[in-house]
């Protein structure tokens, strides 16, 4: 897998409405920089993330998928992120089992006050994906744009 020099990764960040989406907003109002490759999709709760969404994101051209939600214990719906945590652990483990690169998926807990953490996480994650190169193992050739 060769990394092309002008590889611009597409990163899909699923952000929970109550914490991480507000965290992203805060990092914006604080003028913190994070790469434009990150496409944020707002979901009502991290627990809304259906494993199918993750796979769909990869199908439609994402090179990395990150889920951001409230810190465990801080869920707006009290327990949503606890369920999300179990689901994503198992899903990521299965993806790893099937040989999909581990670095392509990630979960990070970002509160509404952690704008800096959001920006830092996105910078770091984008760098990881840059190193991994384009998603080739879980892509849909029919959706390939280049």
């Amino acid at each position: 897998m060769s990394v092309t020099e002008n590889f611009k990764p597409t990163i899909v960040a699923f952000c929970c409405n109550w914490c991480s989406y507000a965290g992203a907003d805060l990092s914006g109002t604080n003028r913190l920089q994070y790469p434009a490759n990150v496409k944020i999709i707002r979901i009502p709760c991290s627990c809304r993330l259906n494993p199918m969404f993750v796979l769909r994101a990869f199908q439609k051209g994402a090179d990395g998928v990150i889920l951001c939600g409230c810190h465990p214990g801080d869920c707006h719906y009290t327990t949503g992120n606890y369920y999300a945590r179990r689901r994503m652990t198992l899903l990521f483990s299965l993806l790893d089992f099937m040989g999909i690169e581990r670095g392509r998926t990630r979960v990070e807990w970002v509160s509404a006050a952690e704008g800096a953490k959001f920006a830092a996480t996105m910078n770091e994650f984008t760098e990881t994906i840059m190193k991994l190169g384009p998603n080739r193992r879980l892509e849909d050739l029919r959706c390939r744009k280049d």
């Binding site: 796979l55 179990r86 652990t89 198992l90 299965l94 892509e139 849909d140």
Partner: protein, 325 residues
């Protein structure tokens, strides 16, 4: 065994305990037994078969059958009884309409394995203790029964019948099983090797949906894969995504509910080891959230509908040993 089962079926029908019996009858070939509903004594006399090839798990058919009028009797092997109890737990079966006859089991046979040992044109298989007498068009061969077991029976997890109204044969025990060995072997490979392994296996998939249709845990009335707009309803040409998505989601949808009955691999016409995906989930659940066997009891919460405050973080997948992808 067949004689005892037949007698029991006839008895239950004649004393009006049940109006129907769910069992097996011969399909296209003698080793190709198919689930069937018997309504009369004549049908049972003529068609009811129980042999080493009665692999089919009858519990899923009870979802429909238990909602019809009258009681239905069913024969459940130990692993089937786990699926049955899991379905009861999910309120999918009306228990009062079912009469369960638990049957002890010493493992079922895999025709593929018999063929692999050089038996072509098999016309009959008779069991005698640990030896199988295989009659073929070209002569008779004797094989060891243990070499011809279905994969799931070779690594049998339990001989215990967890739900029954009546038993035929002995009640068994849970067994020490090495069923996770193959999963561990794959885990020890590099991501490239694992990817290559799964590409080779899954590229054979013809999307017949047999694994989904036979699975007792896969019992949604509307399946996500029947959605025409999903884009993954059929086999795509020259593209691997659809196969990956189907098998990841199929396994994920039964995670925490799969009893590891092994039907998915048994029915796969392409011999894809689908049970490995389910077992990976079971192994992970056991490691992360404590040992859990779906269907073993009626009260324990399924691991995916439960949580604890100090569960491991998803990053455990990245931090675990092994070569990074």
């Amino acid at each position: 065994m067949q004689k005892r089962l037949k007698e029991k079926a006839l008895e239950l029908l004649s004393n009006c305990t049940v109006t129907r019996v769910l069992g097996w009858k011969t399909g296209e070939f003698f080793y190709d037994l198919t689930p069937a509903v018997f309504e009369t004594a004549e049908e049972v006399e003529k068609e009811f078969v129980y042999s080493g090839f009665s692999g089919a798990n009858l519990s899923k058919y009870l979802i429909q059958e238990s909602r019809k009028q009258g009681k239905v009797a069913v024969f459940l092997k130990p692993c089937d009884s786990y699926s049955f109890q899991q379905l009861l737990k999910e309120h999918r079966i009306l228990r009062e309409n079912v009469y369960v006859v638990g049957i002890s089991c010493n493992g079922l046979l895999d025709m593929e394995k018999i063929r692999a040992q050089g038996c072509e044109g098999v016309t009959a298989v008779t069991e005698d203790g640990d030896t199988l007498t295989v009659d073929t068009l070209y002569g008779t061969t004797k094989l060891s029964r243990n070499d011809c077991l279905l994969e799931r029976c070779a690594v049998c997890k339990s001989k215990k019948i967890v739900a029954f109204d009546e038993l035929i044969g002995e009640q068994g025990e849970e067994l020490e099983s090495n069923r996770f060995d193959r999963v561990a072997e794959l885990e020890a490979m590099t991501p490239e090797e694992r990817f290559a392994f799964w590409r080779e296996e899954l590229s054979r998939c013809i999307r017949c949906n047999a694994c989904r249709n036979v699975c007792p845990a896969c019992s949604c009335e509307k399946c996500v894969f029947d959605n025409e707009k999903s884009g993954v309803r059929n086999k795509a040409i020259a593209d691997s995504f659809e196969e990956n998505l189907f098998h990841i989601i199929r396994a994920f949808h039964v995670a925490g509910r799969c009893t590891d009955c092994g039907e998915c691999s048994r029915v796969c016409p392409q011999n894809i080891p689908l049970h490995l995906l389910n077992r990976k989930f079971i192994k992970d659940i056991n490691e992360f959230y404590g040992v859990y066997q779906a269907g073993a009891d009626m009260d324990t919460k399924s691991p995916l509908t439960d949580f604890t405050l100090d569960d491991c973080e998803p990053s455990i997948v990245h931090e675990r040993g092994g070569v990074q992808g």
